[in-house]
């Protein structure tokens, strides 16, 4: 019986200790049974002891594929800047794992159907890393700075189409209103990107041009150092008191430190994960994924980004791409499933429309429009007047072979393989793709002068408005992104309407129609949607990846 008292005291003491645990990190109580020989007696008793295991924590190395240009979120336009910024900054609104808008630094928000006015009610308990309180004034400062040409905030300017912005008003200390001169519905999506993450006004004043190397945000991690050509290090922000709804840990992060190491070579990055020098790496190539997937020592995180994957834009201003029959035949001739299986071990996502399935307002109907049918492709060409008169496998019309100049940026890994695969498939229908895999600058030069008969296009974006950027006739100009030079007035109307309607359901109505018409016109040939793969050690627990970048708020290293 006296052992019961001892047992009871132990439990009480342990509970008190657990209750008084320091705010960071979280202490998880475990109940452990011990078998003990009681002193002085031949009795063997089972004692129940509450043990406090080591707190969650750890320092990790994240291997990324390139060095960012800068960590000023409004300007730093490279995706690698975005990766690191996700630890240093928060956004007003987040897109959660379910694809819906979730509260971030803004607890709630309203906007009217006219998509011109957006009001955000901000959290009151947030501070920047330098102690400055986060409030409506900070948001106004961050957004208005985008308009200042000195700040060169290109990324933010483009995303929020700041030329249409009228003003940013501070209604009270924690309420801010953004006013547009004309309706701009994609603003809600823009505000979920790192490009519109609030920055600390005093820090920007202090650092000026050098703020990009000395970032100050509100995020769960603070900037420590940036060694050029080597790494960026961030450490836990002990004053972090909240988190978006899809994150469980509503307090400071468990991880003490994250080092983002730049490793450009794919093979070296993989080697670093295998040797343990990196705890998590980005961009695991699809063929390498299966061996990590089946290895219990590792985990794979995957995500299909929104926007458009790899599609082929066919130049409507050049023959033979200008003929709808040719483009339709190409859509029947391409076999997306085969390409996926052969080039990507079946791990990518075959694409049948201009945007990926994770894009809001994706129209499922595109999947049925052009089933792979080689005979139909040949038939369409024959009906249009193409015939193989010289027996070389390529059809001709009036002596001109059906040949399209295919330009792409050969500097990007894997695109050449994809181009060759598509070429092989087209050949089976009698279509000749003349390959021009150019070095990046030469490619951009050629495309600038509209030399291409067709090219790859790949633009990830979380808003269906990407359709307007790629398919509206206004984009069919020098320097624009409508490199197919597709001009359809009806589609223009749908795309404009989609950008100007606040209500998401109504926006989707417009975008469904746009996608249907774009595919019926065979403006493009979709090939596949990229899948983002991150590889990590299994001991790195509780990574959350709602989109293509992992969040580390909940993460820790299990010992």
């Amino acid at each position: 019986m006296k052992h019961l008292g001892l047992l009871f005291s132990l439990i009480v003491i342990a509970s008190l200790l657990a209750a008084c645990a320091t705010p960071t990190p979280e202490v998880v109580k475990e109940v452990v049974k011990e078998t003990v020989i009681v002193e002085g007696t031949p009795q063997v008793v089972e004692k129940v002891v509450t043990a406090t295991p080591e707190p969650k924590g750890g320092k990790i190395v994240v291997a990324i594929g390139a060095e960012p240009d800068m960590l000023y979120p409004q300007r730093g336009s490279s995706s690698w800047a975005g990766l690191i910024n996700a630890t240093l900054y928060d956004t007003l609104v987040y897109i959660g794992p379910d694809g819906n808008f979730q509260p971030g630094l803004a607890e709630s928000w309203e906007y009217a159907d006219d998509a011109m006015t957006y009001t955000f009610h901000l959290r009151k308990d947030v501070k920047f890393h330098d102690g400055t309180p986060f409030n409506a004034e900070a948001v106004r400062f961050s957004f208005e700075r985008v308009m200042d040409p000195e700040a060169r905030a290109w990324a933010a300017y483009a995303y929020m189409e700041a030329e249409k912005l009228d003003s940013v008003e501070v209604l009270d200390e924690y309420t801010v209103r953004v006013n547009y001169k004309e309706p701009f519905a994609p603003f809600m999506t823009a505000i979920t990107t790192m490009w519109l993450a609030p920055v600390s006004p005093p820090a920007v004043e202090k650092w000026g041009e050098d703020f990009g190397r000395n970032p100050v945000g509100t995020g769960p991690f603070k900037f420590v150092e940036w060694v050029s050509g080597s790494h960026v290090t961030v450490e836990r922000n002990p004053d972090y008191k909240w988190a978006p709804p899809f994150i469980e840990n509503k307090g400071p992060a468990y991880l003490e430190q994250i080092t983002f190491r730049f490793i450009t070579d794919n093979q070296t990055r993989l080697a670093a994960l295998e040797t343990g020098e990196a705890d998590i790496i980005e961009s695991v190539p699809a063929p390498e994924v299966p061996r990590f997937w089946s290895d219990p020592g590792y985990q794979i995180l995957k995500h299909i980004p929104a926007g458009n994957g790899m599609i082929l834009q066919i130049n409507h201003d050049k023959w033979p791409g200008s003929m709808m029959e040719v483009r339709q035949a190409m859509n029947y001739a391409v076999n997306q499933v085969a390409i996926n299986n052969i080039l990507y071990t079946g791990l990518y996502d075959p694409a049948y429309g201009p945007v990926s399935p994770t894009t809001p307002c994706y129209w499922k109907g595109v999947e049925d429009l052009y089933p792979h049918d080689l005979d139909k492709a040949k038939q369409i060409l024959a009906d249009a007047g193409f015939k193989d008169t010289d027996g070389d496998g390529i059809v001709e019309m009036d002596g001109k072979p059906l040949a399209i100049d295919f330009y792409w940026n050969a500097g990007l890994t894997g695109w050449t393989q994809l181009a060759e695969a598509v070429q092989a498939q087209m050949r089976q229908a009698g279509i000749d793709l003349v390959l021009y895999g150019l070095e990046r600058d030469a490619y951009f030069s050629a495309v600038h002068d509209a030399k291409q008969g067709m090219n790859f296009m790949w633009y990830e974006r979380d808003d269906p408005d990407i359709l307007r950027i790629l398919f509206h006739s206004k984009g069919a100009v020098e320097g624009g992104f409508n490199r197919a030079y597709y001009r359809n007035a009806e589609v223009d109307v749908y795309l404009d309407k989609g950008a100007q309607t606040g209500d998401l359901e109504q926006r989707c109505e417009s975008y469904y129609k746009a996608q249907e018409q774009i595919m019926k016109d065979a403006a493009i040939v979709p090939v596949n949607n990229r899948v983002v793969f991150w590889g990590a050690k299994s001991s790195l627990k509780d990574l959350v990846m709602p989109k293509q970048v992992p969040f580390y708020h909940d993460a820790y290293i299990e010992k």
């Binding site: 060095e67 800068m70 990324a155 030329e163 050509g229 450009t264 093979q267 600058d441």
Partner: protein, 307 residues
Amino acid sequence: MLKVIVTRLMAAVPVIIGASFFVFAMMSLMPGDVADMLLDEVTASPEQKEALREQLGLNKPFPIRYVKFLSGAVRGDLGRSFVSNRPVLEEVMEQLPRTIELAVAGMTVAIALGMTLGILSAIRQNSWIDTVSMAVAMVGVSMPIFWLGLLLILVFAVNLRWFPALGQGSPRSLVLPAVTLGTLPAASIARLVRSSMLEVLRQEYMVTARAKGLREQTVIVRHALKNALIPTITIVGLQLGSLLSGAVLTETIFARQGLGQLTVSAIVRKDFPLVQACILVTSIFYVLANLLVDISYAWFDPRIRYE
């Protein structure tokens, strides 16, 4: 001797200016637009791209831009990077310690390996040692650096875990990059040392040295080797210059900081000011390497001492 050094340094100035002008001209002629490049991932409008070009001074004619660059350079201000906006001199200086570290380590491997193989082959000419050494040298010269580096990582880092895969952060992490970088120069040095030694060993004063009763080791090192080294030094000097400025493949594979990867990435990104700074530093390295070579000649060979 001092006069030699000063003359050489003065002669270097037009070389460096010439190199910088040449690079400036090349960059301007290359296809591709800086604004397109910098704004690649963002859907920036043509107006925004034009504004960026204005801001970076890219619309001004070539002579004006070059003069602006020169006048800044003379005052020590080489401008700011288009991409990171930091002073380019700072960016270059940051990479120097790691660059020099790798170059010295690589050169050490090259000289140690190369000289050993070269001397051995020469004194045991036509024996199996000679054949094997020269075969090794041939393989070394033919091996693509990329392939060698990845192979070393696979075998020694991933499989054997003897060395880290990432080539920076500890003395051990320097080994694989040094071996990767030093293999090619080692092969060249081996072949050169061998042929120079063979020539020297046939000289009459070698017979004299042996006739004097000197130990074979003294004969080889003090008499043969010293004379054989003169052509070798030239090559070593040039290789050192190239290692200091362009170990980009090794740096990329082993994720090391360095002037090589900085230069290449600046060229690819069309970051004019940074390219200029990198080339400037590279030219200076080559000049210094050549100067070192000339001084070593004088030290090694008393016949080559200028008045």
